[in-house]
């Protein structure tokens, strides 16, 4: 065990020693050119004429057609054949750190951040290249995907000029290099004709018991039902088997008029859990019948939500009718 641990530290110190290393130029196969720009704009749906209309582009500060800034990285990609870089490019591998980690069992990779910044736009005819610096390798982290390391590379893009090369932009690229928590997804991936559908994230369903079923069945029928003690008539929510006042087990339900006011509320911002919309306002509603219940708020404008706000129930259906929820919408007092 001790040997294993030492070995791990050895390879990790090799990785750490690489941080800060700079890698040589990788050139673009093609000069910045109008046809590639036009095709990029066509597929992206970008219609700014400074990328495609020479007459309009002549009126801008650049005096001619420029490339869309988000296209910067694309100019210097190798294309169809992996690692086939144009003449003059470095023979070093700027991604060697990732290869080293693969050898240690961190075989999967997912891109996390792509941060572009621009000194200026690039014009048709410019010849671009980039250099790479291994900026950082984080501490070991465990995420939902698995255990591994965040690796940050910074690529600096330049335009080659006789009078001196000019920096035109930068890309901070961060990946998570990891050993998958659920390795079977890679090895047992289905290849048969029965294609798995893209997973659809549904609303979480409420737990249902003999005590609460009436509430959800009522909601499905468009009714907001409150539990009522058959013995003393006390209303109660959330539902339970026993009257908290007279301890009777006998109960029935009464339909609420669905009107009430916000007793308290919270607005969820982070983390954003699908499939909910954010910001996500949730209210503690005091119904006019006297009981309180927790429910989502709809039609609430930011900064217009407040304690005492009058609300009215409405029922919304989710996931093709699998779930109906009572939600509350603000109404005039």
């Amino acid at each position: 065990m001790l040997e294993t641990k030492l070995a791990e530290q050895d390879w990790m110190s090799e990785v750490r020693a690489m941080v800060g290393r700079e890698y040589g130029r990788v050139y673009a196969w093609d000069e910045v050119n109008a046809p590639m720009i036009r095709q990029w704009c066509e597929i992206m749906g970008v219609d700014n004429p400074m990328y495609t209309d020479a007459t309009y582009a002549a009126t801008t500060e650049y005096g001619g057609i420029v490339a869309p800034p988000a296209m910067l990285q694309a100019w210097c990609l190798e294309g169809l054949h992996a690692n086939n870089y144009p003449p003059g490019s470095t023979t070093e591998n700027p991604y060697e750190v990732l290869r080293l980690m693969e050898g240690q069992g961190y075989q999967s990779v997912v891109a996390v951040n792509s941060d572009l910044s621009f000194e200026r736009y690039v014009k048709v005819g410019e010849k671009l290249y980039y250099t790479t610096r291994l900026d950082a390798v984080g501490e070991q982290k465990t995420t939902a995907l698995g255990t591994g390391y965040f690796v940050t590379l910074i690529m600096s893009f330049f335009s080659e000029k006789p009078a001196g090369n000019e920096k035109v932009g930068e890309l901070l690229f961060r990946v998570f290099k990891f050993s998958p928590a659920n390795a079977q997804s890679a090895t047992e991936a289905p290849v048969a004709d029965a294609a798995p559908a893209a997973p659809k994230i549904k609303r979480p369903k409420p737990g249902m018991s003999d005590d609460t079923r009436f509430f959800w069945e009522g909601a499905a029928a468009g009714k907001l039902l409150i539990q009522r003690c058959k013995c003393c008539g006390t209303l109660r929510h959330p539902p339970g088997p026993v009257c908290t006042k007279c301890h009777s087990f006998e109960w029935d339900t009464v339909e609420s008029a669905g009107k009430g006011s916000i007793y308290s509320f919270v607005v969820m911002h982070y983390p954003e859990v699908p499939p909910f919309d954010y910001p996500n306002p949730v209210g503690l509603i005091e119904l006019d019948e006297g009981v309180r219940l927790v429910a989502g708020l709809v039609g609430v404008k930011r900064n217009e939500i407040g304690i005492g706000q009058r609300v009215q129930v409405e029922f919304q259906s989710f996931d093709d009718g699998e779930l109906t929820l009572p939600l509350f919408r603000p109404v005039a007092p």
């Binding site: 590639m36 095709q39 990029w40 066509e42 597929i43 992206m44 749906g45 970008v46 219609d47 700014n48 004429p49 400074m50 209309d53 007459t55 309009y56 801008t60 869309p68 800034p69 988000a70 296209m71 990285q73 694309a74 100019w75 990609l77 190798e78 294309g79 169809l80 997912v110 891109a111 996390v112 951040n113 792509s114 941060d115 572009l116 910044s117 621009f118 736009y121 997804s185 890679a186 991936a189 289905p190 290849v191 294609a195 798995p196 559908a197 893209a198 997973p199 659809k200 994230i201 954003e272 859990v273 699908p274 499939p275």
Partner: protein, 139 residues
């Protein structure tokens, strides 16, 4: 010439919402976007290769996501806006048949640089595909 107006720095306020933009995610968009950005990784154009990687279908590449973020901000800001930065954080993949809906708002204004920061997200049926901050300089 263009018929579109460019938003002026003085007419933009922090908190202002950008109009929503829904983008249908299709095979031509994913495969065409990958090739237009010179990204021939098989998972972006070959469904069988994508399935071997454990994905139900081909998935959008990062450079297409960046391109669509540029489009969303540029459609709001206008042709005279100049991008200073475009930062994206990636989440749920974009698969064909889904729809990605962009929402965003102005999260900051820097009067000295006439630069406006937009914070946005592109959400699909599985959650946020992308969250992003973009800085544009306005006239």
């Amino acid at each position: 010439m263009t018929s579109k107006n460019t938003r002026r720095f003085d007419e933009v306020r922090a908190g202002e919402a950008l109009p929503e933009l829904a983008i249908p995610i299709t095979v031509p968009l994913i495969a065409g976007g990958a090739i237009a950005t010179r990204d021939y990784f098989p998972g972006h154009h070959d469904r069988d290769a994508a399935r071997k990687l454990g994905s139900p279908h081909i998935f959008m590449n990062i450079l297409t996501t960046s391109g669509l973020v540029q489009r969303y901000v540029e459609e709001w800001a206008g042709p005279g806006a100049r991008f200073g930065s475009l930062k994206i954080k990636l989440g749920a993949p974009n698969y064909p048949g889904d729809t990605m809906t962009f929402t965003g708002e102005v999260s900051g204004c820097d009067a000295a640089k006439r630069s406006v920061e937009v914070t946005l997200k592109g959400k699909n049926s599985m959650g946020n595909h992308v969250t992003s901050t973009v800085a544009v300089v306005l006239p």
